[in-house]
Amino acid sequence: MTTTLPDPDAGLVERLCAGDPLAASDFCVAHLNALVEQLRRSYPTAHEHALSEAAEDALLAFVKNPQAFDPARGTVAGYLRMAAKADLINIQKKEARHHRDRTGADCVEDAPDPRNELVDEADGPSFADHGLAAVIAGFTDVERLFFDLMRDGEKRTQVLAVVLGLADAAPAEQTTQVKKMRDCLIKRLQRRRDGP
């Protein structure tokens, strides 16, 4: 039998849902610094302003719509971390488009753009093999988020398709592209593991 610890933020979420005028402030004070720090550790090469903006976007979205959070699916901290990572990727995509330096998120083994190379040191220790860590460090930001979700056990095609920017695509297309990305990532990891 497994025991689930109560989420320490449950009370804050209740206050947000109840319309407590102080709750948003308390929530931001409780989470912003930690969220920025987690992002900074996970993505040490990301620009500071992008880290701040991503953390802020995640917090603002949460305090304005706390009902979107489903406590049955995880903790508030985990939800914020995932949302902020997704926001960070969107910000970097926007910046990359602006600078026209990126070629897209196709599943190819191009050398990653150093400006957008996201090395997740916080999650790294689960892959002690330096070779695998190097492969993961070489993932693009989209591949990295996709990989993080896979590793967290996310199997739903619809959810993984959102990471690929295919939220509005037909289910068949989503299935194809998600499978393609999943196979590609696994193959790259296996190749490294089985290689010389």
Partner: protein, 116 residues
Amino acid sequence: MSAALDHLAERVKSDPWFLAHPLAEYARSAGLDDVALAAKLGCAVADLTAVRLCRAPQPDTFRADLTVVAECFGLNLFSLLAAVQHGTGLARLREGTQAGADAGWQIAAQDRETPG
């Protein structure tokens, strides 16, 4: 507080969902900097960040919401009420003026497109 929280509080000055918005409108109108605004509200400058990150009062619980904020941060309730009412009024006036101007342009455009 921290630089990150100060940055967030600055960002939400343009977001009517937050108390920062009417307070910013009021401070701009009255020509108050942070030190003067804090003095007006009766708090330390350092507390302004947390105050700004509170939710703006809802129309049907306006006074009650601000009472909660004032009690939490030790603010002068009457100063807070006055500042937020003033700031909210200014914001509405600005929105109304903008909406009116937009409507005026649309009417003018329709007049031009509809001959005689």
